[in-house]
């Protein structure tokens, strides 16, 4: 888009691009802080979109799906090979498809998986703890959530490697579109085969077990069982939503700790503080930039929006708003009343949020238990990426053995 739509006040147009602007991408959270000022502005990048900058407005948009629809929830419009069910649905349809997943991801269900997750994470850290250095994404931040996903699907953990490589290529090989497409097709074919094999076990899957597909095979939507296509939609959606996000969160967590020996020391000395610290790291490093489509002409955040307008809901803008949080750009490990929006709000609140926070907590605990002090490897540069899920490409760290 080279000029703003006629209904957009030209004084509200800003040069802003959270996808590829090198200055933004070098430090995305500082980039969002710098974009704050006006309550709302308009970017011409990627087809044009409004940017809400206040926690109150972003929360309200999340909470009002009748005005802000999820049927197109990314900037630019994403073309996934499957229906992103229930992410791309609005109420009341959304709730019908979300409900079967809810018991699987409730806090008590997630808590029951803690011993298994701790064993997976501990094994990964054991493999490099004596080395004195590692590239943290390759060693931990990618394999940990991938292995957890594979375990939740009831697959042998050795399958994790296949998923990890395909996922990385599909989401990040921007310079090689054919490879991205092939990786997506490979994942889909794998999941398709998996769903077919589970369906062949009968209507109750692997009876009684609580892996994701078995639970979905027993579920009912509108009084009927889910069909093959719907099961495949769920599997693909969970794959897209649950792996790269946790990888990114772990990357920023350990980058932050590597740069702040004071924070590492405090967490080693006060391990009970870790759950609160996880919330603060989520708040200060909120990685998800989702979007909504305006459903009708409306005055919102003081501007005229028209049906069809795209609106960016950047969870970092909501979670680093000084009007909502004291010292919002500081990291306060024991912050109280930390009602950040790292997992969004409203009916689409990240269903994996309790699993994600458990994975981050376990990763901090298991790494610090074996490596109580670490730092960024000298001479290496950290490369971050922008877009719908902010992240880091490489994180080389080192420690004394």
């Amino acid at each position: 888009m080279s000029t703003a739509p006629v209904h957009v006040d030209p004084t509200l147009v800003r040069a802003f691009d959270y996808h590829t602007d090198p200055e933004f991408v070098a430090d995305p959270f500082a980039g969002f802080d710098a974009a704050r000022g006006d309550r709302v502005f308009f970017s011409l990048a990627h087809g044009g979109y409004w940017v809400l900058t206040r926690a109150d407005d972003i929360r309200a948009a999340f909470q009002h799906p009748e005005l802000f629809s999820s049927h197109d929830f990314s900037i630019p419009t994403n073309v996934f090979p499957r229906t992103m069910r229930p992410l791309a649905l609005d109420p009341p349809e959304h709730g019908k498809y979300r409900q079967p997943l809810a018991p699987l991801f409730s806090p008590p269900s997630v808590a029951r998986r803690e011993p298994e997750l701790r064993e997976i994470c501990g094994g990964l850290v054991d493999a490099f703890a004596a080395d004195g250095r590692c590239e943290l994404l390759e060693a931990l931040a990618r394999p940990f959530p991938t292995t957890v996903f594979v375990a939740m699907l009831g697959l042998p953990l050795s399958e994790a490697r296949t998923f990890e490589q395909s996922n990385h290529v599909m989401l990040h090989a921007y310079d090689d579109p054919p490879a991205r497409k092939a990786a997506g097709a490979q994942i889909l074919a794998y999941l398709d085969d998996l769903v077919t094999r589970r369906e062949a076990l009968g209507p109750d899957g692997t009876d009684g077990t609580d892996d994701i597909l078995s639970v979905l095979l027993r579920a009912r939507v509108d009084g009927r069982r889910l069909d093959h296509d719907e099961l495949l939609d769920y599997a693909f959606m969970l794959f897209i939503a649950g792996l790269d996000t946790v990888t990114a969160m772990l990357s920023f967590t350990f980058q932050c700790l590597a740069e702040r020996p004071d924070l590492q020391r405090r967490l080693v000395e006060e391990p009970d503080l870790v759950p609160q610290a996880v919330e603060e790291l989520l708040r200060s490093h909120a990685i998800v930039n989702t979007a909504r489509v305006v459903t009708e002409d409306v005055t919102f955040a003081g501007v005229e929006m028209v049906a069809g307008d795209k609106v960016l809901l950047a969870t970092a803008l909501a979670s680093r708003d000084e009007e909502e949080f004291l010292a919002a750009t500081d990291i306060v490990l024991d912050r109280d009343a930390n009602r950040h929006l790292a997992f969004g709000a409203g009916p689409h609140r990240c269903i994996g949020s309790h699993l994600a926070r458990l994975e981050v907590r376990i990763a901090i605990e298991e790494l610090l238990r074996r490596i109580p002090s670490f730092r960024l490897a000298p001479g290496e540069s950290i490369v971050a990426h922008g877009g719908g899920v902010l992240g880091i490409d490489r994180l080389p760290i080192e420690w004394d053995v």
């Binding site: 929360r59 909470q63 409900q99 809810a102 018991p103 991801f105 409730s106 806090p107 008590p108 269900s109 759950p275 109280d336 009343a337 930390n338 009602r339 950040h340 929006l341 997992f343 709000a345 409203g346 009916p347 609140r349 269903i351 949020s353 309790h354």
Partner: protein, 67 residues
């Protein structure tokens, strides 16, 4: 002191439950199972922390009237 949870606004963040699991009970899907409860003695601070941690702002604290 009472807590009032607007269950129509609850989206299952469970931050109230993380602060005070014996007060803010959850249903099987992880959403609030309570809407209006008396806070037992000793849980007042945890109740306030739970309300303040709600990302949806769905929880109100109703202080007892001073006799």
């Amino acid at each position: 002191m009472r807590v009032q949870v607007d269950r129509s606004r609850c989206q299952g963040h469970a931050r109230c439950w993380a602060e005070a699991p014996d007060l803010y009970l959850l249903d099987d899907d992880g959403y609030s199972a309570v809407d209006d409860v008396e806070v037992p003695p000793g849980l007042e601070d945890a109740a306030r922390r739970g309300a303040a941690a709600c990302p949806e702002r769905a929880i109100a604290i109703v202080e007892a009237a001073v006799p």
